[in-house]
């Protein structure tokens, strides 16, 4: 399951100084095949050539403290906390960045090593404005833990209190407080290597070194895609999400406001981690109860609009295919790209603006829900939309930017007022004294209550594609998906491979169901066609696919491509609990697919609440007039060049 590729040396743009490199090891008489003997604290083990000392130690159960190391990133070997003594070498070596290519004898906690580690932590503390009481990362801070682990009892080399940097709050999504930065450069590596965006870089030298954006511009003005992956990997509170909880509490406390919250699928698979549960412990129904305890007036499931998205986006795809295949329209802009991930959308707007026509015009589920709540739901409950506050619980920091996009006001109001992350909601629960894991279960509120499994799997990479295929196959082929895929699990699009490509031949077509009658007369034009789809997660993989499309490669032949801005999809979003790792994301995905299986209805086009919405409110079916007004949007070509 854990095949998620960390880094591709061919395309990685990370500075070479911060990457592990290929070691052409010399054959050694003591090395058996590709294995090499290493002794760590007296225990011996054989490991494959090139294994780092840190990984070898892990296999032996020997703990070596680290800070700049992260499971998702190339190793930098720069904080030096993980130094160990290698027999025969004068200097200590950074175990995270030292590949074993010949037999080594290593000691991990000699006096020299302990002294060095203490010194290094002392030095970090001396350049860190530590405000633990008021820090969002208190009790979840790697520097704090490290200081405890090293037995730090005083600030040997002083403690910085004077502020050298202004906190950058220019971004809707990410707040940077560089006074707390300890220069581990995980954010730099995350941005340039994991995501291949490259907004952050080390600047200046010596003790003046800082992490800066291009020409030190505010984060809100550079090519940042708001994915928040840097937040998830920051060991301290130097990076955090823009927190709206105070304002949300204020609205909850105001009796004149009707505060509703929609909850995306990914947070429920992860929020338990903030309460000591193992990753992958689902909290869906406990969370509903907790949200009501907090004082939210209604609790809705974003899956409702995930299903709505499938119908709108799926219909859009069928219309584009019709234009291309039947009308021979070369401007049909295929492949169609998904548009649910606001990190990916902004990435495309910056780096591939020529491909904006390929983006589905369908809004993301979050934004669709906002528009539906302030129109349909307001009418239904005779509420004045100006008194409704819509909060969206999202695993995502980019959703904060998305809800603030100026065009997202089709209801006549800001469709979604606040994007709230999983971490922030957990904090609200804690403040309210809510013991989430031990709450009774409760369901979502009507009229959107019933969701489908298709909506739930939006939370994992490949989920949107799987949901779309379940619907498209049934609508077009007129057969049950279960006839083609056991339990309707479309396994080929699942998993953590960075890029997945699937072909689905359409052997037979069925009659046009009533919902689509206004759009097409028949599906005969699709008979014998092969639907080519692909899935990419993390913008580094998106970049590969986009470059392939630009070069006219096989992905340019695709019809539909799901892109997610974050590695692992939404379960790995920038608003999810910290820490993150491939293992943690895999556990969260398991919870998502488990919930999918538990639903009776697992296909979007069978969601009764969605059908009711079309019947009673949208009237004309998918991609009709009102749908277009409320549920679709447009994009901005931003480009990658800054003034």
């Amino acid at each position: 399951m854990n095949t998620e590729s960390r880094m591709n040396p061919d395309t990685s743009r990370a500075p070479v100084s911060q990457k592990p490199q290929v070691v052409n090891a010399r054959a050694d008489e003591n090395a058996v095949g590709a294995q090499v003997r290493v002794s760590i604290d007296g225990q011996e083990i054989k490991v494959p050539l090139g294994t780092t000392i840190l990984d070898a130690a892990k296999r032996l159960g020997v703990h070596i403290p680290t800070l700049c190391h992260h499971a998702d990133l190339c190793s930098a070997g720069l904080c030096r906390v993980c130094v160990v003594e290698v027999e025969g070498q004068r200097a200590l070596q950074a175990s995270c960045a030292y590949p074993i290519t010949s037999p080594l004898t290593i000691k991990t906690h000699t006096r020299k090593v302990r002294n060095a580690r203490r010194h290094i932590v002392d030095l970090m503390l001396s350049e860190h404005v530590g405000e633990c009481y008021t820090c969002s990362r208190s009790n979840n801070c790697e520097l704090q833990s490290l200081a405890k682990e090293m037995g730090v009892v005083n600030f040997r080399f002083g403690q910085r209190t004077e502020r050298r940097h202004q906190t950058d709050t220019s971004s809707h999504s990410v707040v940077r407080n560089m006074d707390k930065c300890v220069l581990c450069r995980r954010c730099v590596r995350t941005c340039i290597d994991l995501q291949e965006v490259g907004v952050l870089e080390a600047c200046h030298r010596g003790s003046e070194t800082t992490i800066e954006t291009f020409r030190d511009k505010p984060l809100g003005e550079v090519v940042c895609i708001n994915c928040g992956q840097c937040i998830n990997r920051c060991p301290t509170g130097a990076l955090r999400a823009n927190d709206p909880t105070e304002e949300i509490w204020r609205h909850i406390d105001n009796p004149g406001k009707h505060v509703v919250i929609q909850t995306a699928p990914a947070p429920r698979a992860a929020i338990g981690e903030c309460f000591g549960c193992a990753p992958g412990t689902p909290m869906t129904f406990e969370m509903n109860s907790a949200l009501r305890l907090c004082g939210f007036d209604k609790v809705f499931d974003t899956n409702f609009t995930a299903d709505l998205t499938i119908l709108e986006e799926g219909t859009e795809l069928l219309l584009r295919l019709h234009r291309a295949l039947v009308q021979g329209d070369r401007e049909a802009a295929l492949p169609q790209f998904t548009s649910c991930s606001p990190g990916w959308v902004k990435y495309l707007e910056h780096f591939y603006p020529d491909y904006i026509p390929n983006l589905s015009s369908a809004k993301s589920p979050q934004q669709m829900f906002g528009a539906v709540i302030k129109t349909y739901y307001a009418q239904l409950h005779e509420l004045d939309p100006k008194d409704i506050v819509t909060v969206a619980l999202m695993p995502c920091s980019a959703k904060k930017f998305e809800c603030n996009r100026p065009e997202m006001v089709d209801s006549g109001f800001k469709d979604v007022d606040y994007g709230l992350t999983t971490r922030e909601l957990a904090q609200m629960f804690k403040e309210a004294g809510i013991d989430l894991p031990n709450l009774p279960h409760s369901d979502f509120d009507d009229p959107f209550g019933s969701a489908t499994g298709s909506g739930v799997i939006f939370g994992a990479t490949g989920g949107v594609m799987e949901a779309a295929l379940r619907t498209v196959i049934e609508v077009v082929c007129g057969v049950q998906v279960e006839n083609l895929f056991d339990h309707a699990d479309i396994i080929p699009v699942r998993g953590f491979d960075g890029i997945r490509y699937v072909e689905l031949p359409i052997r037979e077509v069925g009659p046009v169901i009533p919902m689509f009658k206004h759009l097409v007369g028949d599906w005969d034009w699709l008979k014998g066609a092969t639907l080519k789809v692909a899935v990419a997660h993390g913008t580094a993989n998106a970049k590969k696919v986009m470059d392939d499309i630009k070069a006219g490669g096989r992905f340019s032949e695709c019809h539909f491509i799901e892109f997610m801005g974050c590695p692992g999809g939404c379960i790995g979003g920038g608003g999810q609990p910290i820490p993150t790792s491939p293992e943690i994301r895999a556990a969260r995905a398991k919870a998502i697919y488990g919930e999918d299986r538990s639903y009776k209805i697992r296909k979007s086009h069978e969601n009764p609440a969605v059908l009711e919405l079309y019947e009673k409110f949208l009237k004309e079916g998918p991609c009709g007039h009102l749908s277009h007004k409320l549920l679709h949007t447009h994009y901005t070509a931003r480009g990658a060049f800054m003034a």
Partner: protein, 394 residues
């Protein structure tokens, strides 16, 4: 340029390109063997055996290899490469071509210190005239397959780029910062190819080794440190300048030659070197004793050693690349400590903590910069403790 010794290797009169002409007639392995047997060690300061380095690079399997001449002479008090490049550029380029032949590289790069921009045109002229004379370019001296070109690449003023992996990062267009090692540049260097990075003086000496023969070279100086060395002598002495002496010369002998007999201390090896007090002037300048890449700074009796230490620490606080914690932050803490010492408010226990921190920096920093930056501070505190502590609580 002052030449005080008759056993000069670099600056003695010699037939031009004698080494290169001999190298053309030798097998590659024999060139490396000669360099190894000469005992020649890297003149940049680290003292790694040149023959061993060349051998590693020669053994590395790749069709593309590079020879890089490290002319990023940035160590405070060092200016001998500047003299070599302006007066003996031919000899340096000869050495590069020999290195190219020895390891199987067809391309050489001179990484020239940013402040040496004025020399660029001169070097490029020498390269052009050597190409015209078939001493560079294709089929050098008529030997089929012996192709070697050289270009000049300018540094931009960062001290750390003298460190070979940071130099390679800079060559590739990145921020100059040291890489993790292993792998070493001889295996994975510039653009991922095996790269042999040698100091200017090392390359010039290698050409002389081939010309004179390993044995003649090894006869000069002690066994651990063969050959001659260029010293950049500055500070409180009557005759500062660049000198060529046999390796192993004692500090007092050198001081006598340069007119610095009154010195109270000598900084050997520049800012990253050590401070040798008068009582230890019998120490020899050699790899196994007081080692230096060439910098000799003489401090007269009136010098305030704490100011000397401050000068060096300010340099490192600024020139640390900022990558690893011990160097970036440690140098700042040591500098702050010097401030406390100057104000007379540094407790003895804090001074001991700073010394311990210095040892950690030597052990745990990522590259040679941080590993050597506390040397000056530590040696000054060790040898001039009374002078330094005289201000405390006065």
């Amino acid at each position: 340029m002052s030449l005080k010794d008759h056993s000069s290797i670099l600056f003695r009169e010699s037939r031009p390109d004698e080494g290169l002409r001999k190298a053309v007639g030798m097998k590659r392995v024999d060139i490396i063997t000669a360099v190894r047997e000469s005992g020649l060690k890297g003149r940049g300061g680290a003292g790694f055996p040149t023959g061993v380095k060349w051998n590693f690079a020669a053994l590395a399997q790749d069709t593309v290899k590079y020879v890089v001449c490290n002319a990023d002479e940035g160590e405070p008090g060092t200016f001998k490469d500047r003299v070599l490049l302006s007066e003996k550029a031919d000899l340096v380029l000869e050495g590069m071509a020999i290195a190219g032949r020895a390891i199987g590289a067809r391309e050489g790069i001179i990484y020239l210190r940013g402040e040496y921009d004025f020399m660029r045109r001169h070097l490029e002229q020498v390269i052009a005239s050597r190409e015209a004379a078939h001493l560079l370019g294709e089929s050098i001296l008529g030997l089929d397959g012996f192709d070697f070109t050289v270009r000049v690449h300018m540094g931009a003023g960062a001290y750390v780029c003298g460190e070979e992996t940071a130099l390679i990062e800079s060559l590739e267009g990145h921020r100059g910062e040291p890489r993790n090692r292993p792998p070493f540049p001889v295996n994975t260097g510039y653009l991922g190819h095996p790269t042999c990075v040698n100091n200017v003086e090392t390359l010039a000496l290698a050409a002389r080794v081939i010309a004179l023969g390993a044995e003649a070279f090894a006869k000069v100086g002690p066994a651990s440190s063969t050959g001659t060395k260029l010293f950049s002598v500055s500070g409180d002495c009557a005759r500062p300048g660049v000198y060529e002496f046999p390796m192993g010369i004692s500090i007092e002998d050198l001081l006598r030659e340069v007119g610095g007999e009154e010195a109270k201390a000598v900084q050997v090896g520049g800012a990253s070197g050590t401070c040798v007090p008068r009582k230890a002037f019998t120490r020899r300048l050699a790899f196994d004793d007081a080692s230096t890449g060439g910098s000799i700074i003489v401090f007269g009796p009136g010098r305030d050693m704490l100011r000397v230490a401050r000068n060096f620490m300010e340099f490192f606080d600024e020139e640390s690349c900022g990558q690893c914690t011990p160097c970036r932050s440690g140098n700042r803490v040591l500098l702050e400590g010097i401030g406390k010492l100057e104000q007379g408010c540094c407790s003895l226990s804090h001074l001991q903590e700073l010394q311990a921190l210095g040892e950690t920096m030597q052990l745990a920093s990522k590259c040679g910069l941080g590993q050597s930056s506390p040397n000056a501070f530590l040696s000054i505190v060790e040898h001039f403790k009374d002078e330094i502590l005289a201000r405390q609580g006065a």
